[in-house]
């Protein structure tokens, strides 16, 4: 098949290339960075800074690395769950909503347990998981019972969740001593996640993310439900032939991804933020979708990709504070990365050849 306006054509391979399955994200990253360098010079900055702001600066100090891992935590948590869902061909695009629902639930428990000490934070995280699960279960129920498309439903629920958050911080959970600002009171010490490294903001949530990734790996490789969800995504007719319950797969992946996204949200409010505000998530739930794809829907790849995405976020913030560039650059890079990844993925199933002369 010819590529327009070029001397190249795409020739299908006999079987997918293992090399390109893992090289494709690297190629996509390379192309994104190149675009970044171009963008930087168009904006009047040195292209080298595009690389340094995003990849070198953030990793040059102990505190910097901690910040990267901190940022990666909610991304990794949500993306591990999404990787399972996408593998089962359940397109949970509403992780952002589940994350927000989890943060509201965690905040509610943290505030309710104010002054009681002890392990309030553990309850808060559990509540966050439940909140995310509950939010995701709306999507699951509508798909199970009504056959409603989960992409649109979960997305609509994102907007609903955002409005709910806004309502909650302007109303029921607003800090009475906060001068009318839309934010909750700060949480007690007992309702905050313990830190991992002194002098940094890195908290236990990061370990939770690693544990989730390990559990997901085990699930996929060794468990029956993991096998069932893989088959459901690869060949739904074969799943039906085998007698696997598609309903069970649907609920399992949505509840797990909802819970993990919820924990991500809960970790944000009981971790670095310490309170509930309207800006709980700068689009982590959507970035997690990209992380899941870049990580090849594999728990290990997802962890690596979440660190990469964290670098994008922090690089954007650094570019803003140091160079005066808009932090919305991050959003542009995220979109470009996914787009380039899709383009590079073509190489997994096709070879590029110089155009053959017609017969």
């Amino acid at each position: 098949m010819r590529l327009p306006m070029s001397g190249l054509s795409l020739v299908p391979r006999g079987s997918p290339s293992r090399l390109w399955t893992w090289a494709s994200p690297l190629l996509a990253l390379l192309l994104t960075v190149t675009c970044g360098m171009l963008l930087f010079s168009l904006l009047g900055r040195s292209p080298w800074q595009a690389v340094s702001m995003f990849f070198i600066e953030p990793l040059s100090t102990r505190r910097g690395v901690a910040e990267v891992l901190l940022k990666a935590t909610p991304l990794a948590l949500a993306a591990v769950g999404l990787a399972l869902a996408f593998r089962a061909n359940v397109w949970n695009i509403g992780a952002e909503g589940q994350l927000i629902a989890g943060s509201i639930a965690a905040a509610a428990v943290a505030l309710a347990g104010a002054g009681s000490g002890g392990w309030v934070v553990a309850l808060a995280i559990a509540a966050a998981a439940c909140g995310g699960m509950a939010w995701a279960s709306i999507t699951a129920w509508l798909r199970d019972r009504f056959n409603a498309n989960e992409i649109l439903v979960s997305l609509m629920l994102v907007y609903v969740a955002q409005l709910l958050l806004s309502y909650v911080v302007h109303g029921p959970m607003r800090d009475p001593a906060g001068f009318g600002f839309p934010q909750s009171p700060m949480f007690d010490r007992a309702a905050r996640l313990p830190l991992l490294l002194d002098g940094t903001r890195l908290h236990v949530g990061f370990l939770l993310a690693l544990a989730a990734a390990a559990a997901a790996w085990l699930l996929l490789a060794r468990s029956v439900i993991g096998f069932q969800l893989r088959v459901a995504g690869l060949a739904p007719r074969a799943a039906r032939y085998a007698g696997f319950s598609s309903r069970r797969v649907l609920w399992t992946v949505l509840l797990i991804s909802g819970a993990l996204a919820g924990i991500g949200g809960g970790a944000e409010v009981t971790g670095p933020m310490g309170q509930l505000t309207p800006s709980v998530s700068p689009g982590y739930g959507f970035a997690a979708i990209i992380v899941a794809f870049v990580g090849r829907l594999h728990p290990v790849g997802v962890v690596a990709a979440s660190i990469l995405m964290a670098l994008f976020y922090i690089g954007g913030e650094l570019s803003q504070s140091r160079l005066g560039l808009p932090s919305s650059l991050t959003g542009v890079y995220q979109g470009l990365l996914l787009l380039f990844l899709l383009g590079a993925d073509t190489l997994i199933v096709n070879r590029v050849r110089l155009r053959a002369t017609p017969a």
Binding site: P12, L142, R145, V160, Y167, V332, G335, L342
Partner: protein
């Protein structure tokens, strides 16, 4: 009575961006392609239209620029979906995210800015008629254009050979290809048309409906438009009705305030999203009915060389 008339007129105006976007979606979904990137396309077109209208002083130039922006993003999508045979859903999502990011990026210098005033909308004298005046004659040009577009698409789809070819491609690209029809060409044309429509929708939103720029100002209208096309079972006239109904739902707050109901504004703003979910659930209940009306090849990759 006056209040009701205002509500109806406002619903029509509010439904127009969804109508424009949905008609474009209908056109390309009828050929079997799903482009989830509408929201991102609308956002980018919105800021481009705003920026051009702001800098040039001409609204019309803004519309044109918005349409072009939509077409360009649709072309990018078409490259990934039709040439590289990437997964349509993932490619559409990528466009949605990229469009959102790009719009925030471009829009920074424009937040808080205003646009030069435009003349009053609608047809003079006629718009001042009681009750029906504002409903029928008081709208901006683009509202009437959207109506015309619905008529044109209906005529094209069901009364011309081009429409026949379009529907054939959507039902079975393999058979169409065997007949010598260029599946890729038809799909590309439909996608670009869809891009232009999404572009006009975004432009209308940012330059006419609420003449300002704010990040994520489309607030999910693109996604609602996608759902609308499903509700309308891919028929243009039903899309028209659905879009105006949803416009009405977004006006709920206005209506309730008019009747004296006090509720937190955020909860009332949830109305269009909850409504979309409810209608989606009701419509999807019978899977056979959906399959009967849906273009059979929707979302499935077509590669004649594989």
């Amino acid at each position: 009575m006056e209040a009701a008339a205002t509500l109806v007129a406002a619903s029509i105006a509010a439904g127009t961006p969804m109508l424009l976007a949905a008609i474009g979606i209908l056109a390309h979904e009828r050929t079997g392609v799903v482009n989830l990137g509408v929201e991102g396309m609308m956002l980018t077109a919105a800021i481009v239209a705003f920026a051009v209208a702001h800098d040039s002083g001409s609204h019309v130039l803004g519309f044109a620029a918005g349409a072009v922006a939509g077409v360009l993003l649709a072309a990018v999508f078409a490259f990934f979906a039709l040439v590289l045979h990437a997964n349509q859903y993932a490619a559409g999502l990528a466009i949605a995210l990229l469009g959102a990011g790009a719009s925030a990026f471009i829009g920074l210098p424009y937040s808080g800015q205003g646009l030069p005033a435009r003349g009053a909308d609608g047809i003079a004298l006629l718009r001042d008629l009681p009750v029906f005046g504002p409903i029928l004659f008081g709208h901006h040009l683009l509202v009437y254009f959207a109506l015309l577009l619905v008529g044109a698409v209906t005529w094209l789809l069901f009364r011309t050979r081009a429409g026949l070819v379009l529907r054939a491609v959507g039902e079975s690209p393999e058979s169409a290809h065997a007949l010598g029809i260029s599946v890729r060409g038809v799909r590309l044309a439909a996608l670009l048309f869809g891009g232009a429509c999404a572009g006009l929708a975004g432009a209308y939103l940012a330059t006419v409906y609420t003449p300002l720029w704010a990040e994520n100002m489309t607030a999910g209208r693109g996604w609602i438009a996608l759902a609308l096309v499903v509700f309308a079972t891919w028929r243009p006239l039903r899309v028209l009705v659905g879009a105006y109904l949803f416009g009405g739902v977004t006006m709920l707050q206005l209506y309730l305030q008019g009747v004296g109901v006090q509720a937190p504004s955020q909860l009332m703003s949830m109305a269009p999203y909850v409504a979309t979910i409810v209608v989606l659930a009701l419509i999807s209940r019978n899977p056979r009915w959906i399959r009967l009306n849906m273009p059979a090849s929707l979302g499935k990759p077509f590669n004649p060389n594989a």
